[in-house]
Subunit: 172 residues, 2 copies
Amino acid sequence: MKCGIAIFPSKKIQDFANSYRKRYDTHYSLIPPHLTLKNTFEVEEDQIESVVKELHKIAAEIEPFPLRITKFSSFYPASNIIYLKVEPNESLTTLYNKLHSGPFQEQTEDAFVPHITIGRDLSNDEFSDVYGQLKMQKVHFEETVDRFHLLYQLENGSWTAYETFHLGKEQG
Amino acid sequence: MKCGIAIFPSKKIQDFANSYRKRYDTHYSLIPPHLTLKNTFEVEEDQIESVVKELHKIAAEIEPFPLRITKFSSFYPASNIIYLKVEPNESLTTLYNKLHSGPFQEQTEDAFVPHITIGRDLSNDEFSDVYGQLKMQKVHFEETVDRFHLLYQLENGSWTAYETFHLGKEQG
């Protein structure tokens, strides 16, 4: 089963992100606005409960932390993705690292750049237009992250939530 | 916040349902295939944690139970909805009743007909064609339900998972 791990920000942020995603993000209908903590990884169906157990342990080790969004940014020229930039903080980075080490080790050369995608697969011209406007805009959201979700992907590319993990107050 | 409560069946059933929903269900991109336990209800944002607490209590009172799908069916003539019929059983009915009494009391005159919608908003002709074919087909799925989810609705009509509730093994 293809799994992924993500934070869903508050409805307010999701509605804000969707106002852009509707026009600019080809994944708009596949998953709600999210911050990816771990990209697609394969889990055998009979291994899912042991993955869940490990994730509960990890969640218990990290207290709820702030999520701050400060501006629009982009991965250009590496890719044409436009996103809401999430300010890195120690808890978020620690959580990411735990989800990429031990039983969750994987080969990745990407640095962690926490973000909520709002545009992708745009033509170069469209990218320049849209990003040119967005990067001048002020954005400010601040809230507390107290949970993350394990999701699995259906054959049509969409994602279904499997389990919720609460930061700090887990029983392991 | 508009909330709802649903069971997501296994990936296998969801993929099967989506093969029809893609063509016949206008809600295809708003939510993965699901069995609705409680239709949209309003929860104030500062009340959500007390709702969550109540739902954990209810989940703890019901053991995991079988989900059996036996055929396609329809609400015609009340509506043109086509669905995968889920065999009622005592646990499922008890769960439904608990989600519609006490703090979750609501005015409803509908009997509980457990189902997974695969078609809606079809014209009369299309409905007759599609349902005429589907109702002759054999379907058989059987699995165990061990959880349900509280979801909330975004402004675009799509649903985001908020929390998972495990049947039986909850700590309340």
